[in-house]
């Protein structure tokens, strides 16, 4: 049995923090020894990019999966790739983009593991067309509490498959994932920037371009109020075909300009994120952009924040919270207006505010549903928790929900109201993990499994 390291961990938002025995197996047998050892509960951790407490297990055990990162098989006919859970999205891009393949769905950072991405069933900018990552996963090898490795797919153990996709690591530890990569002709995105003067124009842009563009996302200037409430910059694009590239790029269509990687060297002092600072930044950012056609390289298009390593440090040591919610389509417009107005009235301000449209979705605990989703981030203040509780109420009332991978404060009764399939999920959880060996700070906080 490998030895643990006692250490303090946090999610990407630096809040909360938890001390655990951390294991980092480099072999499958070492992982099995940790999972089956008859001691405290255990949770898998990938790259720690979930914002809150999903990959924390205070006073218990955490298994760092990053060293189990071997690619096991690839079929260039079908695009099917099988690899261990610790492989990152960035590694897949590095290896396969030059061969003309790209991950079918990517979140806003490439520094996430495949295991973490399946466990959170991540979505990208193409959810309206492609759904979430789980939709492209063909099979999962899951290590159960007993140490048994069970293969699950749509055909085989399908209940366990749909409980594990989006299951936040609580059904078992994902060892291997097989997914279908997408064929692409270049590393570029052919698209446009569209300026929306307010939320109605933003929604109208999404609806109008939904068939034309596979990828879309809007960045909202949270300084906009009244008639300009929800004014935003909408980025739209499709993978560029080789023929459509300007001649100099056509020769090497998978080559993109190298990126500089400045690192935020230390935690910034807290005054850097005063509400005045946030509004000034937002107004200036909005003013910098012009509408028109644009060719983006994939890094700028998908991972703008990855350009700055450790950018979470701009929030200082007190950390920050992400709040991402979604409303059913029919409630989306009203929900968006209500929320943006509440933020404007509250005055705290969100540094980065992102709007996307979701399409169809499977999975028992997966976050997306057809409708609009808004992601907000706030430096932590005393008033913030109470404010977010109020947002929760507004979201529940409209039948929406909050994303667990970004959450650090949702309450159990609110969680249950937001995730109607949690009951079904719990039945499956009890079947494979009757002693509740897989647990996390998130699980205990939202009452999974509840004590009924």
């Amino acid at each position: 049995m490998p030895l643990p390291r006692r250490g303090v961990l946090t999610g990407w938002g630096s809040f909360p923090i938890a001390e655990s025995d951390i294991y980092r197996p480099e072999k499958i047998a070492e992982l099995a020894a940790v999972v089956t050892s008859n001691s405290t509960s255990v949770i898998a951790r990938g790259a720690g990019r979930a914002y809150g407490d999903a990959a924390l297990n205070g006073g218990n055990r955490v298994v760092d999966m990053q060293r189990l990162s071997r690619m096991l098989a690839f079929d260039s006919e079908s695009g099917l790739l099988r690899c261990e859970a610790g492989v990152t999205i960035g590694e897949i891009i590095d290896v396969f983009l030059r061969r003309g393949f790209f991950p079918p769905v990517v979140p806003g950072t490439q520094f996430v593991t495949l295991g973490g991405s399946v466990a959170a069933d991540v979505h990208g900018k193409s959810h309206h067309r492609d759904s979430s990552l789980g939709n492209h996963v063909t099979s999962i090898d899951l290590m159960l509490a007993s140490g048994e490795v069970r293969r699950c797919s749509r055909e085989e153990n399908s209940d366990l498959f749909w409980a594990t996709v989006g299951g936040m690591g609580l059904t078992g530890t994902i060892l291997e994932v097989e997914l279908r990569l997408r064929r692409v002709e270049s590393a570029w995105f052919d698209g446009e920037i569209s300026m929306a003067a307010n939320i109605d124009e933003a929604i109208e842009t999404f609806e109008r371009t939904e068939r034309q563009y596979g990828y879309s996302v809007a960045w909202i200037d949270c300084a906009g109020t009244r008639g300009s409430l929800g004014r935003s910059i909408v980025n739209l694009g499709n993978v560029a075909s080789r023929q459509s590239l300007p001649p100099p790029l056509r020769q090497e269509p998978f080559k993109v300009p190298p990126r500089m990687h400045p690192t935020v060297p230390f935690n910034l002092p807290s005054f850097a994120l005063s509400s005045l600072g946030i509004k000034t930044f937002n107004t200036a950012y909005y003013a910098m952009h012009r509408a028109g056609p644009k060719l983006f390289d994939y890094q700028t298009f998908f991972f703008p924040l990855d350009a700055i390593r450790k950018w979470n440090r701009i929030y200082g040591t007190r950390g920050f919270l992400q709040y991402q919610c979604v409303w059913p389509l029919s409630e989306s417009r009203a929900g968006l207006i209500e929320t943006l107005e509440a933020i404007a009235r509250w005055g705290g301000g969100s540094f980065l505010t992102v709007l996307k449209k979701f399409g169809p979705q499977d999975g028992m605990l997966s976050f997306p549903m057809p409708g609009y989703t808004l992601a907000l981030d706030f430096p932590i203040t005393r008033e913030l928790m109470e404010f977010l509780d109020r947002l929760d109420e507004m979201v529940v009332k409209r039948g929406g929900r909050v994303y667990l991978a970004k959450d650090a404060r949702l309450r159990p009764e609110v969680f249950r109201a937001m995730y109607p399939k949690a009951g079904r999920w719990l039945e499956i959880k009890r079947g494979v993990d009757p002693e509740n060996r897989f647990s996390s700070n998130l699980a205990r906080r939202i009452g999974l499994p509840g004590g009924e």
């Binding site: 390291r5 980092r24 047998a29 060293r67 096991l72 790739l81 690899c83 290896v95």
Partner: protein, 244 residues
């Protein structure tokens, strides 16, 4: 195209080194005790680089098996251009300090096993008058310390063995490189990180770079050379009291 035998392939340092050579088009024979793991690593290299990678098993302490193992590896590779010795264990030093059997096991895993396999490779490469051997030693071999002198002495012996071998092999045009490794973030050091610990990928990059420029002895990372230079100068009577 290089044909390489990598021993101790399940070490993350070996994994990164193997990837570097495979990216340059080498074909590889990977070996350690744990076949299932070696096979995963071989698949990984093939999927990522397209290079040919096959796997096998050996145990450093099972000397009688080494010749057959070595011949099989060379036959599978269709020849041999280089061997990388990356196996080694800290073992249970505390137990080894009072139990001769445990002490000898550490010596076998770090020194005698390496001598046996390196001798086989050296004979082969000397006859063909080309090729290289890279062996991973440790800065722990630079000075005996109460904390890890059994392991340290094995690495010191390995360094001396390689030094002599290097002189002899130079006449045949065979390159022998000793790596004096500082602390690297592997299972060996998990839970004992220090500010001087580096990632296995970084260590492998330095080792690869040193091999490319034909280095004979290299400290990885480089700063261990001055550090050990000073540590070796401290007189015994004082060294005993400072307890490093």
């Amino acid at each position: 195209m290089q044909r390489l035998l990598i021993l101790g392939a399940t070490s993350p340092i070996a994994r990164s080194l193997a990837m570097r050579f495979a990216t340059e088009g080498a074909s590889l024979f990977l070996a350690a005790r744990d076949l299932a793991e070696v096979e995963r690593l071989a698949s990984d290299i093939t999927v990522r680089t397209g290079a040919r990678a096959v796997s096998g098993v050996f145990d450093a302490a099972e000397f009688y098996f080494h010749a057959t193992f070595f011949e099989k590896a060379v036959a599978e590779l269709g020849g041999l251009d280089g061997m990388i010795v990356c196996f080694g264990t800290l073992g249970d030093e505390t137990a080894a300090q009072v139990d001769p059997e445990k002490a000898l096991a550490i010596l076998n895993q770090n020194f005698t096993g390496a001598v046996s396999l390196i001798t086989l490779a050296a004979r082969h490469l000397e006859q063909q008058k080309s090729g290289f051997i890279i062996a991973i030693g440790s800065v722990a071999g630079e000075r005996g310390r109460p904390k890890n002198y059994v392991y340290g002495s094995a690495k010191a012996a390995l360094a001396t063995f390689l030094q002599g071998l290097r002189g002899r092999m130079a006449r045949a045009g065979v390159h022998v490189m000793t790596v004096k490794l500082g602390t690297v973030d592997t299972r060996m050091t998990w839970g004992r990180e220090s500010p001087l610990t580096v990632a296995p990928e970084a260590a492998a990059d330095s080792i690869y770079g040193a091999w490319k420029r034909g280095a004979e002895v290299v400290f990885v990372p480089w700063f261990w050379q001055p550090i050990m230079g000073i540590i070796k100068l401290i007189p015994e009577s004082i060294f005993r009291r400072v307890n490093i």
